[in-house]
């Protein structure tokens, strides 16, 4: 599934992968993910939500805590985790757990940045504790690889429309 350059797909049994290209060198993308003053400006959550807590101690073993609040009804959503690898400018590994998680266990997120001609490709891989957890997040039927099932789903839906 692609809009612009964003792709979301399931990999193996327990992984979910997001890739996206950015028109900037990777050290800047790395900064955008690791400096709270940058992160809180773009990781705003859903429309109508605002990031109200963005504490992060970006070093191996350091913790982070993020929280968003709905401007409309005051509901909040929080998550936290720990940094496991911090290797600028191309690799960042951290754990994540939502306060009110809809999937079991803790996920491990790995961000890899590759640069080419001043553009950066982000590959964000989330590794879940189990296939059930991964599927609960992605609800992904894509066992055959990149976006296949979504394409199939689209096919089916197209057929339905036709």
């Amino acid at each position: 599934m692609t809009t612009g350059t964003l792709k979301v797909f399931a990999q193996g049994e327990r992984e979910l992968v997001i890739t996206r290209e950015f028109d900037a060198p990777r050290h800047l993308v790395f900064e955008a993910f690791t400096r709270p003053e940058h992160l809180r400006r773009w990781l705003g959550g859903l429309p109508g939500w605002e990031m109200v807590v963005c504490d992060m101690d970006v070093r191996v073993g350091g913790k982070y805590r993020w929280m968003w609040k709905s401007l409309e009804d005051g509901l909040s959503m929080g998550m936290s985790g720990e940094y496991r690898e911090v290797s600028p400018p191309d690799r960042l590994v951290s754990t994540e757990k939502f306060d009110e998680s809809w999937y079991p266990g803790t996920a491990v997120g790995t961000i890899v940045l590759t640069e080419r001609g001043g553009r950066t490709t982000l590959t964000q891989t989330m590794l879940y504790d189990s296939r059930e957890a991964r599927d609960a997040v992605m609800a992904s039927p894509m066992e055959e690889g990149v976006g296949v099932s979504y394409d199939r789903l689209e096919e089916v839906l197209r057929d339905l429309a036709g």
């Binding site: 964003l6 979301v8 060198p25 993308v29 400006r41 859903l46 096919e155 839906l157």
Partner: protein
């Protein structure tokens, strides 16, 4: 079934290529188990098993006719599944578009400070 469970069932049912093919076939009109089994190198009981999964997920319904029990596709769960995936994708695209804007700003800032440095060297 609550919404999340319902979605789980939909996606689990869609995880199998045979079941997706069955749905694609049913999209062009109802069919009996026999008719569905034909294009697949599969026994009727094997196809029936797949149909049960699809039926449980609410993706198909089966007619009352005891002999034929024709299968019919149900569009709503598919539409819901599609909405979910689309929502997920849109969520991240929304975040990343803001990141695009921020990166433009950081790039501009860097270029500016780069020029200043070169300027001071002269």
């Amino acid at each position: 079934m609550n919404a999340a469970r319902h979605l789980d069932a939909t996606f689990a049912a869609l995880a199998d290529p045979t079941r997706r093919a069955i749905l694609a076939r049913l999209a062009s009109g109802e069919a009996s188990v026999n008719e569905l089994a034909k294009p697949f190198a599969m026994s009727q009981p094997a196809i029936s098993k797949h149909l049960k999964v699809l039926e449980r997920a609410g993706l198909i319904t089966r007619g009352r006719d005891a002999q034929r029990r024709p299968c019919r596709i149900e569009a709503r769960p598919l539409a819901e599944a599609n909405d979910w995936l689309e929502g997920y994708r849109q969520f991240w695209e929304g975040q990343f578009q803001r990141l695009d804007a921020l990166l433009d700003e950081l790039k501009a800032r860097e270029t500016k400070s780069g020029r200043t440095k070169k300027g001071t060297r002269r």
